[in-house]
């Protein structure tokens, strides 16, 4: 049943992602949305602010994330020192409001690498997720 396996794979992916990341040490502790936002920031590089971050998450993960959630997550990441921000110039199309640009810090990069290593280790050899019967 390929469709069932696909659904199961998606769910297991979420569960694994959340559990593994939350069981990491405090220094590298990242929630699921935190990790997704960090990856979106890394993909966007310079000039990442709320709108493109939200769109990138929607494009890559196929789910719309409210801008308020994105900002709340970015605030947590900033509190952990994984992300820094700078204000841009106010523009007319934004009602005279400035953009806030975000970038991943050196510490954030290190934590992202640690997370990837841990997740890769956990993914290896999982037959149930490779289309074979467990």
């Amino acid at each position: 049943m390929p469709r069932l396996q696909l659904d199961l794979s998606d769910r297991l992916y979420s569960i694994h992602l959340i559990t593994i990341v939350e069981e990491m040490s405090d220094r590298s502790h990242l929630g699921e949305l935190e990790l997704v936002v960090m990856l979106a920031l890394l993909r966007l590089g310079e000039g990442a602010y709320g709108v493109p971050i939200s769109r990138e998450i929607e494009r890559q993960c196929g789910r719309e994330t409210a801008l308020g959630s994105v900002y709340a997550t970015l605030e947590r990441l900033q509190n952990k020192g994984l992300v820094s921000s700078s204000l841009g110039e106010p523009t007319a199309e934004r009602g005279g409001r400035a953009k806030r640009y975000f970038r991943v810090t050196t510490k954030g990069l290190r934590v992202a690498r640690e997370t990837r290593r841990a997740l890769t280790r956990m993914w290896k050899g999982l037959q149930a997720l490779e289309g074979r019967q467990a």
Binding site: Y49, Y71, R94, A98, R100
Partner: protein
């Protein structure tokens, strides 16, 4: 821009969400709205942002509620003051004054005794959260003054109605101190983790 964003949602956004992110979030919403997002999308985004802000505030201040419950529950300590010889003598003398002096005296005495407990407890709270200074202490004390004095003013009238003793001593009697502590600690909440402020363009 196709039309203006909904006024109420924009007003709520500006008044409920404060801080550095509010300007950026409001700008993002306007930008998206200008590029064709619907009014319902805008309202939904504002609702989510407000709910997240409220949730964050409540999570940050649960300690205030717990602190108020613990202090106002310290009945044995308060009863020791009330049942002391000196306090009882003073109280008996006060209630023999002509009305309304007797009422004013009683309220003042209750408020003073609770005020002492409040001041000590609030000072301990501020020291614990490392925000003890004259400004914070005055701010909390001023905020607490209203429920403390009004609550103690209401207590004699409630007592006249002969409420069940258990309810009076376990709930009603504690409410002035409880509510004053809630308001004071709410006015001076524990500090949230500092984050780097965004740098402004040169």
């Amino acid at each position: 821009m196709k039309s203006n964003p909904p006024l109420l949602a924009t007003w709520l956004l500006e008044h409920f969400i404060r801080g550095e992110d509010s300007e950026a979030l409001a700008g993002d919403l306007l930008e998206e709205f200008g590029q064709g997002r619907s009014i319902s999308w805008y309202r939904y985004q504002v609702l989510v942002a407000i709910l997240l802000t409220l949730s964050k505030k409540l999570r940050a201040r649960w300690i205030c509620f717990l602190f108020a419950v613990v202090v106002s529950s310290a009945v044995s300590f308060r009863r020791q003051i009330w049942q002391s010889f000196e306090f009882e003598g003073l109280f008996t003398w006060g209630i023999q004054l002509p009305w309304p002096a007797s009422l004013a005296f009683t309220v003042a005495l209750w408020s003073a005794s609770e005020g002492m407990i409040f001041f000590v407890a609030f000072a301990v709270y501020l020291i614990t959260i490392r925000r003890f200074n004259r400004r914070n202490f005055s701010k909390g004390a001023l905020v607490a003054l209203v429920p403390l004095s009004l609550g103690n003013l209401a207590l004699p009238w409630i007592w006249v109605w002969h409420p069940p003793m258990v309810i009076f001593y376990t709930v009603i009697w504690r409410l002035p101190l409880f509510s004053s502590l809630i308001l004071a600690t709410w006015a001076v909440p524990p500090a949230t983790p500092q984050r780097q402020s965004a740098t402004r363009p040169a």
